[in-house]
Symmetry: C2
Subunit: 695 residues, 2 copies
C-alpha cells in the first residue's frame, strides 16, 4: 500500500492544476495526460523509484522514460516537486525560448531527464536498450553478485501512451525485450484511448495485454475506468502500486501494466476527449477544474507550502537510498580494484592505454579486402582492449562483420543456438530483423553510460532506423552504425537493396558523422577516430566487395582520415591541374584515373574524403591546403546520388554519381553500366579543366 | 482436398531442383525457401488463386504478394510453370543484367509480379493496403453486390517469412488489418525458424499466432515439422489448403496461416540451416538433392514435357475463370453506365472534365493562411470531382488537414466513433500512429490501380516512413504525401518535431517530387500538378503557420509552380543584380527582402522554387531564363539544412539555412533566432553580389 495521506492527495491534485495552468499560460501544449497521470507519476517519483534528486547523474539510479514525451509536464512537475532543481518559474516558462521546460523532455538540458522523447515509440524502445545495458554493465563489473545485491542493479520505468503502443518500433523492441527476459523493465501503459483523432477506436482495437503476453511479458491490468460509464472513476493507486510491485517480483520477464485512465481527469467537460490531449483547456475549464479540486480559480500556479515541503522530502529519501547504495558500491570498489579502474576510465570517457596500438594495419594488396571485412578485423582486435565496446547486427552478423570473434552472445542461457553460444552477460547482440528498434536500443545503451554500443545492417536499411539515428544525433550519443553493402556494389540483390540516396540523406542529419573509408587502412583509422568521440554518433558506410588495399609507402598515410579529407596522392606541380575527390570504393578509381591522366600530361591530385563532416570541422587553412581555392577543376566520384557534391567541386566541377535506382546484376557490370570507371573520371577531369578555363 | 496426382508432386519437386539449379548457376541467391515453399507456391498458383496467366494485368485477379522477396524464385518458377511468359532461359538468367528475373521481384518488369518486394515487412504491409483498396473500389463501383458476387471482389494472398514478421511495419499494418476486419486477406507465414543468423531462437521467441489473435485475426497453424525431430517431415498440402479455405470463410477477419516448414527441404545436409537461406547450395548438395528426388544429378534445369504441359493448364483454367468474371463484369457495365465511365477514365489515368476548374483560388491577404489549410481546402474542393482520390492521416487529421469535409471514414460500421462516422466503403482513412505502415498501405492502394491515395503526418516523421516512400519511388506509384509542420515553424514542440534535414533527405530519393509551396495559391497548383502525374510519388511539405497569400496581380501567376521554379517578381533591369531563390514559408521573406534591396538600389529577382525536381525536368532554355547563367549573385533561403543548395546558387552564392537542430519556442522567435529574416536575406544578397564581383 502507498500509505498516502491527504497531503499526498493534495499534492497530486496540485500536479493537475499546475499542468492545466502551465499549458494555459503559454497557450499550447498537452494538459490532459499530465492531469490524469498525476497519481502515477507521483507514485513513481515519491514511492517507487530509487532516485536521488540531488544527484540526477548517479549511475546507480533507476531510470525513468517518458515515452509519451508530449506529456513532458508529467515529468517536469514531478522534478519540481521532488527537488531536482526545477522551480515554479520554470513551469511558467513551459515551451518558451531558453527555458528548462521545452515542449518535450530533453536529456542534457533538464536535470533529472534521462532521455529525450517525443517521437512516439522511441522512449519505450530505448528503455529496452537501457534494461539490456544494465544487465551487460552488471556482467562487466559485478557478475558474481546475487540478484538485487549489486550497485550495478537498477530498474527502468517507462510511461507509454496509446501512440507508443501503436508504433512498430515498440513492437520490435517489446518482442526483443520478452525474448531477453528483461525483468528489470516495467512499462506502465496509459490506456486512455484518446489520441489526436480523438477516440482511438477509430484505428486501434487490438488486445494489447494479449499481444504482450505473446511477446513473453508479464502483464497486469489496472482499470481505473471500470466504473466510468456511470460517471465514476476511482484512481486506485494501491492497486497500481501492487501491480508494479508484482511485476518486479517476476524477474525473468519484463512487465507491462495496462492502466486504464480518463484523460484530462477531472476537467468537467473536456475529460475523456481529444480536446484535452493537445490544446490548452481554456480559462473556464481550468477554473472549473480548480473548483472541483478545491483550489482557488483566481489563482494560478498555486502550491501550498505544506505540499511542497512534503514532496521535497523525496530529496532526503533519495539521499538515504544513495547512501545505502554507496556502501555496497564502496565495498565493490574495495573488492575489485581492477574493475573499479575500468569503471573510472569509462566514466571519464577515457580510452585505455594501448588503444591506438591495438588497431591492425593492412599490407598493400591489389586484390585487397572489403571494408566490411576490415571493420570486422578491427572489432576483433579491439575486443580485448576495449571491454566497454559491444554490439551486433539486425540479423546480418555475417554480412556486416559485426561479431568480435569468440565473444559470447548476449542472450538468456536457454536461448543459445547451435550457431551462437553465450549467456545473459554476453557481448554479441542479436537484434533480429528489427532495425529501428536496434537504433533505439543503441541509444538506450549509450544513455546508460557505461558501455559503447554499435549496430549493423545494410546501408539501404538505414532508412528503417532514421528515427533512431536522428534521436542519437539530437541526444549527442556516441553510437556507431556499421552499415555495409554501401552502394550498387551490393550487386545481384538489385535496386531494393542498393543504396543511392542514403549517403546524402544521412549527411543531411545535423550532428551525425558519415564515414566511408576507401580501403582497409582507412577503415581502421575511421574506427579509431570514431571511438575517440564521446558526444555524437557516427556511421560507417562499408563495402560488400573487396577493394584494393593501397600501398601507403606510395600514397599518404591513412591517418589523414581523422581529418575527414586529405591528399592521398599529390600532383607533381605545386598547383594541380585538377583535383579528384573520392570516397570509399571509388577511391581506387580516382587513383587509377590519376595515372591515366598523368600519361596524358594532366597532373591530378587525389583527395580521399571519407568524412565530409570531419573535413568541414577542420580550419580553413587546412581545407584550403587540401582543396586550394585556386584550383577550380575538380571531380568528385562516389557511387551514390550526386546530391550535395556541388558544394565540394564548385561551378567548374564535375560530379560522378548515380541519380536513379540500381539494378540486379553482378557489381562489376553495374559499375561499368552506371559509369563508375576510371575512364569516366578521366573524362570528367578533362571536362572540368575546360570548364575551369584550363587547356 | 487438392487432388494432386503424382504429376503434381513431380512438378513440385521440379520446382525444388529448378530453384537449386538457378542459384547454383549464378552462384548466389536464396535457394532454401524456394525449395521448401514449392508445395505452397504451387498450391496457390495451381489450385487457389483466381489469376489468368495470359492477362496478368486483369484487374479482377487475386493479388499475390511475396513479402519475402529474396525468395523471388518462389514466384518466378510458378510464373514459368503457369505460363505467364517466363521460360527456362529466364530462370537461367536469374540475378543477371537485363534479365526478367532480378534478385527481388519487380513490378512493371516481370509479368505476373504484382508488387516489388525485398525490404522485409514491406510486402505484407502493402498487401493490407491492397485489401483495403479492394474494399474501397468495391464501394466506389459496386457497393450493392452481395459478398463474393461483384467483379470487384478479389482476394489478396501473401507469403511472409520470419523476417517479415519481426519487422515493426508488419505489426503496424497487421494491427490495422485486424481493426479493419479485412476478410479478403490471407497471409501464409512460413515459419521455418531460420534467418541469416541461423536459428531464429537467437532473437525471436514470441508466440506469433497469439499476437495475431490479439490483433483480431483468424489464425490457423499447419505444422509440417511436427515429426521432424525424428527426421520426418510431412508436407500435408491438404491440411494447408483446408487452412486457407477455412480462413476465407471467415469474412470479417484477415487470416494468418502459420506454416511450419523445414527450409531447404529436402537438401540432405543443408536443410534446416542458415546455409540454405542465402547462398548457393554447392554442386554436391544440389546433386544429392536431385538424387533424392529422382532427378538426374548430371542434368540441370530438367523439366519433363509432361510436367510443363500439365502445369501450363493453369493458363486455360485462368482464362475460364476470367471468362466467368467477364460475364458479371459485362452485366455490371450494362447496369451501371455512369460507373463504367468512371472506371474507364480511372483505368486510362485520365482526369475528369472540370478538374482544373475545381481548384479554389485564394485572395491576396497579408495575414494569409497556412499552406496545410490551403491544402485542406483543395482536398475539399476536389472531393466531388475526383472520386478516386482518398486518404487520411497517421492520427493527425486535424493537423494535416487531410480530411475532405463531410466524407465518411473508412472503417467497419462498428468502429465509428463520436468524432468520425463512416462505414466499410468510406473515404477518410485513419492509419493510427503507424507512419511506415501508412506508407506501405498507400503503395498497396496505388498498386491495386483504381484509386489515388494520399496520407499525412508531420514532415519530421517522414523519417518513419522512408522505407515505404523509397518503394513508392522504385515502383513509380502515384502516391501523395501530405507532410505538414514543415520547418522550425512547428514552434513549441521543439527539436524532436522540427524537420531540418528532411527536405534534403527526401530530394535525394530518385523519382520522388518534393513540393514546398510558398502560399495558398501555390499549394493549389502544386496539388493540380501532382494529380496530373501517374507514374511517381510526390510529397507536399506544408506549413503549420499562416503565410501571406501573395497578390498575384502584383506578382506572377502561381501557375509557374508546375515548372518547379519560376520568376515570381522580376528585377526592373534586364539583368538582375541578384537572384533570391526561396521555397515555402521563406518565399515571403524573399519578397520582402527584394523591396528592401530596391530601396538600397539593388535590383533583385525573386524566384519561387517549390519543386527542384520539376525545375530540373524543364529544358535548359527555361532554366536559364529563370536563373540566367550570367547572374552569379544568388541567395537561396529555406528553413532547412543548406545541404544541396550550393548547386542552385553556385560558388558566388549564399545559402540561408539551418544546419543544427531546432528548439522549443514560438515560431516567430525561432525564425528570428535562427536567422530567417528579410534582413538576413538582404545581407546575404549584398555578400553574394560582392563575391560575384559586383559592387
Amino acid at each position: 500500500e502507498t500509505g498516502w495521506t491527504d497531503l499526498d492527495v493534495r499534492a497530486v491534485d496540485t500536479v493537475r492544476v499546475l499542468a492545466a495552468d502551465a499549458v494555459q499560460k503559454v497557450g499550447n501544449g498537452h494538459p490532459g495526460t499530465a492531469m490524469s497521470l498525476a497519481p502515477l507519476a507521483y507514485l513513481l517519483y515519491q514511492n517507487v523509484m530509487r532516485v536521488d534528486p540531488s544527484d540526477p547523474e548517479w549511475f546507480g539510479r533507476d531510470r525513468f522514460v517518458l515515452s509519451c514525451g508530449h506529456s513532458s509536464l508529467t515529468q517536469y512537475i514531478q522534478l519540481y516537486l521532488a527537488g531536482y532543481g526545477l522551480e515554479l518559474d520554470d513551469l511558467k516558462a513551459l515551451r518558451t525560448w531558453g527555458s528548462l521546460t521545452p515542449g518535450h523532455p530533453e536529456v542534457h538540458h533538464t536535470k533529472g531527464v534521462d532521455i529525450t522523447t517525443g517521437p512516439l515509440g522511441s522512449g519505450l524502445a530505448s528503455a529496452v536498450g537501457m534494461a539490456m545495458a544494465q544487465r551487460r554493465q552488471r556482467g562487466l563489473f559485478d557478475p558474481e553478485a546475487a540478484p538485487g545485491e549489486s550497485p550495478f542493479d537498477h530498474h527502468v520505468y517507462v510511461i507509454a501512451s496509446d501512440g507508443d503502443i501503436m508504433e512498430g518500433v515498440t513492437s520490435e523492441a517489446s518482442s526483443l525485450a520478452g525474448h531477453q527476459e528483461l525483468g528489470n523493465l516495467t512499462v506502465i501503459y496509459d490506456e486512455n484511448s484518446i489520441s489526436i483523432e480523438d477516440d482511438t477506436d477509430i484505428s486501434f482495437s487490438e488486445d494489447v495485454a494479449k499481444r504482450y503476453e505473446a511477446y513473453g511479458w508479464h502483464t497486469e491490468v489496472v482499470d481505473w475506468r471500470v466504473s466510468h460509464q456511470n460517471g465514476g472513476y476511482v484512481e486506485d493507486v494501491d492497486a497500481l502500486l501492487a501491480a508494479i510491485e508484482s511485476g518486479k517480483k517476476v524477474t525473468d520477464k519484463p512487465t507491462i501494466v495496462v492502466l486504464r485512465t480518463v484523460i484530462g481527469w477531472p476537467a468537467p467537460t473536456k475529460q475523456d476527449t481529444g480536446a484535452a490531449h493537445g490544446s490548452a483547456l481554456g480559462d473556464d475549464e481550468v477554473a472549473a477544474t480548480k473548483k472541483l479540486l478545491g483550489f482557488d480559480p483566481e489563482q494560478t500556479f498555486e502550491v501550498s507550502d505544506e505540499v511542497i515541503s512534503h514532496t521535497r522530502q523525496a530529496t532526503e529519501r533519495g539521499q538515504q537510498a544513495h547512501a545505502e547504495w554507496q556502501k555496497s558500491y564502496d565495498a565493490w570498489r574495495a573488492a575489485h580494484a581492477d574493475r573499479a579502474e575500468l569503471l573510472d576510465r569509462v566514466l571519464a570517457h577515457r580510452l585505455p592505454d594501448g588503444f591506438a596500438e591495438a588497431f591492425p594495419t593492412f599490407e598493400a594488396d591489389e586484390k585487397g579486402i572489403a571494408t566490411r571485412a576490415a571493420s570486422g578485423k578491427v572489432l576483433g582486435a579491439l575486443a580485448p582492449v576495449l571491454p566497454e565496446l559491444w554490439g551486433g547486427s539486425a540479423d546480418l552478423a555475417g554480412s556486416n562483420n559485426t561479431t568480435m570473434e569468440g565473444e559470447p552472445s548476449f542472450v538468456p542461457a536457454s536461448k543459445q543456438t547451435k550457431s551462437w553460444s553465450g549467456g545473459p552477460y554476453g557481448r554479441t547482440l542479436h537484434f533480429g530483423i528489427r532495425e529501428n528498434a536496434m537504433g533505439m536500443i543503441l541509444n538506450g545503451i549509450a544513455l546508460e553510460g557505461l558501455t559503447k554500443p554499435y549496430g549493423g545492417t545494410f546501408l539501404v536499411f538505414s532508412d528503417y532506423m532514421r528515427p533512431a539515428v536522428r534521436l542519437a544525433a539530437i541526444q549527442q550519443l556516441p553510437v556507431t552504425y556499421v552499415w555495409t553493402h554501401d552502394s550498387i556494389g551490393v550487386g545481384e540483390d538489385g535496386p531494393t537493396h542498393q543504396p543511392i540516396e542514403h549517403l546524402a540523406a544521412l549527411r543531411a542529419i545535423p550532428g551525425l558523422d558519415v564515414v566511408r573509408p576507401g580501403d582497409a587502412n582507412e577503415t581502421a583509422v575511421a574506427w579509431r577516430t570514431i571511438l575517440g568521440h564521446v558526444d555524437h554518433p557516427a556511421a560507417l558506410a562499408l563495402t560488400r566487395q573487396a577493394l584494393p588495399t593501397l600501398d601507403r609507402t606510395e600514397y599518404a598515410s591513412a591517418d589523414g582520415v581523422a581529418k575527414g579529407g586529405y591528399v592521398l596522392a599529390d600532383a607533381d606541380k605545386d598547383t594541380p591541374d585538377v583535383i579528384l575527390v573520392a570516397t570509399g570504393s571509388e577511391l581506387s578509381l580516382a587513383v587509377e584515373a590519376r595515372k591515366t591522366l598523368k600519361d596524358k600530361g594532366v597532373d591530378a591530385r587525389v583527395v580521399s574524403m571519407p568524412c565530409r563532416e570531419w573535413f568541414a570541422a577542420q580550419d580553413q587553412s587546412y581545407r584550403d591546403e587540401v582543396l586550394p581555392p585556386a584550383v577550380k577543376a575538380r571531380v568528385s566520384v562516389e557511387a551514390a546520388t550526386p546530391f550535395g557534391w556541388h558544394e565540394i567541386v564548385g561551378d567548374a566541377g564535375r560530379v560522378i554519381g548515380i541519380d536513379h535506382f540500381g539494378a540486379s546484376a553482378d557489381a562489376k557490370t553495374l559499375f561499368e553500366k552506371f559509369g563508375f570507371t576510371a575512364d569516366a573520371v578521366v573524362q570528367a577531369a578533362q571536362e572540368s579543366i575546360t570548364a575551369a578555363g584550363g587547356n
